[in-house]
């Protein structure tokens, strides 16, 4: 019996390897595309524990393989820096990677990426359907030749509007988080770049508000305004870093904590009420927290409606985009980008990831209308107030295949809903005017900013910690001294009447 059991166990352990070997043999010589992407960043069906997959999300990679008769080797990374190191160690190991904005800048500046072909720049599906806003932005920054956008968004606060009467007003400034009344209800990102941004925004609040005023009164045009905000937000001089450190240390005392990924869940269960979040995560959080109708039980499940706000001073516009590392299979990589740029595939990705695709087009707008529209122009919401138009023309104009006309890209929503998912999914033009791209810092600056962040994370040390260390140190000294003392003490003299044993 025992032997049988051992045999069965051994079989179970070996089975995967045997299957793997068998699988290798069958593989035909197909062209291979090696894609390196973020975890959970492409539509794929949910895997069941028994190895089968659900029929819930489109398997984009498999569809691409089928359509073009190629093999895709798909692997994932967790941070930009990991990805970068992997590329440095293994040059030429990937055909297509998906870093964030600042890492793309760094890679372009280090001449690590292949340019797109002229044909791609003129006739590709990406160029046809990518949002005019995104294309303009890339053109302006000079990245068009090397990178295409995949997902994009802003940064802001997700908050529970019932937290206090003035919460919306308070959080219309980044400094709202510093207020004592929001002690222990908010989290920010445990990431140096995002938190540095938040600190700088708080430090230069007055200057930013002055710029905004000048823009609103017409003294500054949109582009100059945006450039000035970008300059302020990318300051890394000594005084800025010092002031930011103080601001963040002050903030730390007021926070519930930092988070990497737990912020979403903590918001949903109500453990915290304000979260400094990327817009994509904000959509996810709001979706998850909402009351919803449970089809299985036929009951309305309770929940909370959360809001998203981009404070008045500025925001950070971020994006992740595809670049082809040197030595890539350019032809096939471009085909993959084009495949992902079909509006229906962009919809599939948005459904799965929850972030906003850089692709516009009819299918995307139809889906958005489906998600968010609450009626037509002139309709009333539940409380009898007219619906407000949410203007998406800046994003969709010129990408239609005939279903929609330019200038008609409005989604009608209630005033309340305009503060929720849709505002995170697509920022308004007004928000974009004050949204800065965070540059990539050079190595020396990076080191100083990181050191600043370490201090924010590592300080202050509570007094009792010093006490513990002092007690331990004293203990060690006492023990050491006692050893020394013992060593010096001579052999005790025999007591009277005690006779030494002698042979």
């Amino acid at each position: 019996m025992k032997r049988l059991l051992c045999g069965a166990l051994a079989f179970c352990f070996l089975l995967p390897f045997v299957l793997l070997l068998a699988g290798c043999g069958k593989e035909q010589q197909k062209e291979v595309l090696r894609v390196y992407n973020w975890e959970d960043y492409i539509s794929e069906p949910t895997q069941n524990s028994d190895g089968t997959s659900e029929n819930d999300y489109v398997d984009l990679v498999a569809e691409f393989e089928k359509e073009y008769g190629v093999t895709v080797e798909y692997s994932t990374f967790g941070t930009n820096e990991n990805m970068y190191n992997e590329l440095k160690i293994n040059p030429g190991a990937y055909d297509l990677v998906c870093p964030s904005d600042y890492m793309i800048m760094k890679m372009i500046s280090e001449d690590m990426v292949e340019p797109f072909t002229d044909d791609f720049l003129q006739n590709s599906t990406y160029m046809r359907y990518a949002s005019p806003y995104i294309k303009e932005l890339f053109e302006e920054k000079g990245w068009t030749k090397y990178a295409v956008a995949y997902m994009w968004g802003t940064m802001g606060y997700v908050y529970n509007p019932e937290l206090s009467d003035t919460v919306e007003e308070d959080l219309s400034s980044w400094t709202g988080l510093w207020q004592e009344k929001y002690a222990s209800v908010a989290t920010i990102k445990d990431s140096v770049r995002d938190s540095y941004f938040l600190g700088v925004a708080a430090v230069y609040r007055d200057e930013l508000m002055q710029l905004k005023k000048e823009y609103e009164t017409g003294k500054l045009d949109r582009q100059t305004y945006n450039e000035k905000v970008t300059e302020v937000m990318n300051r890394t001089d000594e005084a800025t870093i010092e002031a930011t450190k103080d601001a963040l240390l002050q903030l730390k005392e007021n926070l519930y904590g930092f988070e990497v990924d737990s912020g979403k869940q903590d918001m949903v269960v109500g453990r915290i009420s304000i979260n400094f979040a990327w817009s994509g995560d904000a959509v996810y959080t709001m979706d998850d927290a909402e009351p919803y109708f449970n089809e299985e039980t036929g009951k309305e499940e309770p929940g909370i409606y959360l809001n998203y706000i981009v404070p008045e001073e500025c925001s950070n516009i971020w994006f992740d985009g595809w670049v082809m590392p040197k030595g890539a299979n350019v032809e096939l990589a471009q085909k993959f980008i084009d495949f992902l740029s079909r509006p229906e595939n962009a919809v599939a990705n948005m459904n799965y990831i929850g972030y906003t695709s850089a692709i516009a087009g009819d299918a995307v707008f139809t889906e958005m209308t489906d998600w968010y529209s609450e009626g037509e122009e002139g309709d009333l919401d539940e409380e009898g107030n007219p619906l407000v138009p949410y203007d998406l023309n800046y994003f969709f104009d010129g990408t239609s295949d005939g279903e929609y006309e330019d200038g008609t890209y409005f989604i009608y929503v209630s005033a309340e809903s305009a503060k929720r998912q849709i505002s995170a999914q697509y920022p308004t033009e007004e928000v974009l005017a004050r949204s800065a791209i965070m540059q990539h810092f050079d190595d020396a600056t990076n080191a100083i900013v990181n050191e600043m962040w370490e201090e924010v994370k590592g300080l202050p040390i509570p007094v009792w910690a010093y006490v513990v260390i002092a007690v331990i140190a004293a203990g060690i000294v006492v023990i050491a001294l006692s050893y020394v003392y013992k060593g010096k003490r001579s052999e005790p003299k025999p007591k009277k009447g005690y006779r030494r044993e002698t042979n």
Binding site: G78, T79, E81, N82, Y84, N85, S184, T187, D190, S191, V192, K252, L255, Y256, G257, F258, E259, V260, S262, R271, N446, A447, N450, E451, E454, E455, K457, G458, L459, I461, P462, A465, Y466, V468, I469, I472
Partner: protein, 270 residues
């Protein structure tokens, strides 16, 4: 067919290879990274990381914090584990292995899962978010308690009862017997347990991150940051080396390298 015969030397080859591949080469690599720096894409020898560590307020305070957390966790573990191990070892219960297993059982569950569960539990009690230091220490103690119980149990179990009887015969009270006989004889177990708990408590940042909401930074976290977030393997390696030296010194101080008597060797299994 000639029968296969391996000499002792030949049998050592796989182990030597293993040591070379997974111990010596990685250590050399860490040393190499620790004492070099990358400037404009070229790597060169430098003490910059070493000096950088000892001149940085942030890193020194992290070191201090790690020390404090580790010392308190170890002391708490010892205070909890000793009575448990003592009772288990001395009990007349026929199946005390079952009892012991109950204490070890949590080790069979993935520890990230346990810590996540603990986070929910602490939230329920109301400690999460307000008592960051306490939570971290609770987490460390919860996580490393079995590592303290096991060596203590092993030494106490093997303790020759005739020593205790002799001590009692000579008029020692229960307390005296414990302080003069039992405890000194169980010291190898204590030292072994302390080493097993103290070292990982300085670096197990999953616990501090999860339970303090990233408010407490310990050395392990710092190393992780340098490798994954700051893209600076040199400083990361230097911190690892410094940690290594600290652990080495602790081992030296507690006599962990001595080829001890039988009891000590038995306890050092863990």
């Amino acid at each position: 067919m000639q029968s296969l015969h391996f000499s002792r030397k030949q049998l050592c080859i796989p182990y030597a290879l293993f040591l070379l591949l997974f111990v010596i080469i990685p250590m050399l690599l860490i040393l190499f990274y620790a004492f070099t720096e990358t400037v404009d894409g070229t790597i060169r020898f430098s003490f910059a990381n070493f000096i950088g560590f000892f001149t940085s307020t942030a890193k020194l305070s992290t070191l201090l914090m790690s020390f404090t957390v580790a010392i308190i966790s170890t002391a708490a573990c010892l205070l909890i584990a000793y009575p448990v191990a003592y009772i288990l070892a001395r009990s007349k219960f026929r199946r005390k292995n079952v009892l012991l297993m109950i204490f070890i059982l949590p080790m069979w569950i993935n520890f990230v899962l346990r810590i996540t569960a603990l986070r929910e539990l602490l939230d329920l009690i109301g400690l999460l978010g307000s008592q960051n230091y306490l939570n971290t220490i609770i987490g460390m103690v919860y996580d490393f308690l079995p590592f303290m119980i096991l060596p203590l149990y092993t030494t106490l179990e093997k303790l020759d009862e005739s020593y205790l009887e002799a001590a009692a015969d000579l008029g020692g009270s229960k307390f005296t017997v414990f302080t003069k006989v039992t405890f000194p004889l169980s010291l190898p177990g204590v030292i072994s347990g302390v080493t097993m708990v103290f070292m990982p408590s300085m670096t197990n940042y999953v616990v501090s991150d999860t339970l303090s909401n990233f408010n407490i930074t310990i050395l392990g976290k710092l190393i992780d940051q340098y490798f994954t977030a700051y893209d600076n393997w040199h400083m990361g390696s230097m911190i690892s080396i410094i940690l290594l030296v600290i652990i080495f010194l602790t081992m030296l101080a507690t006599g962990g390298f001595k080829d001890g008597d039988r009891e000590a060797r038995g306890a050092n299994l863990w």
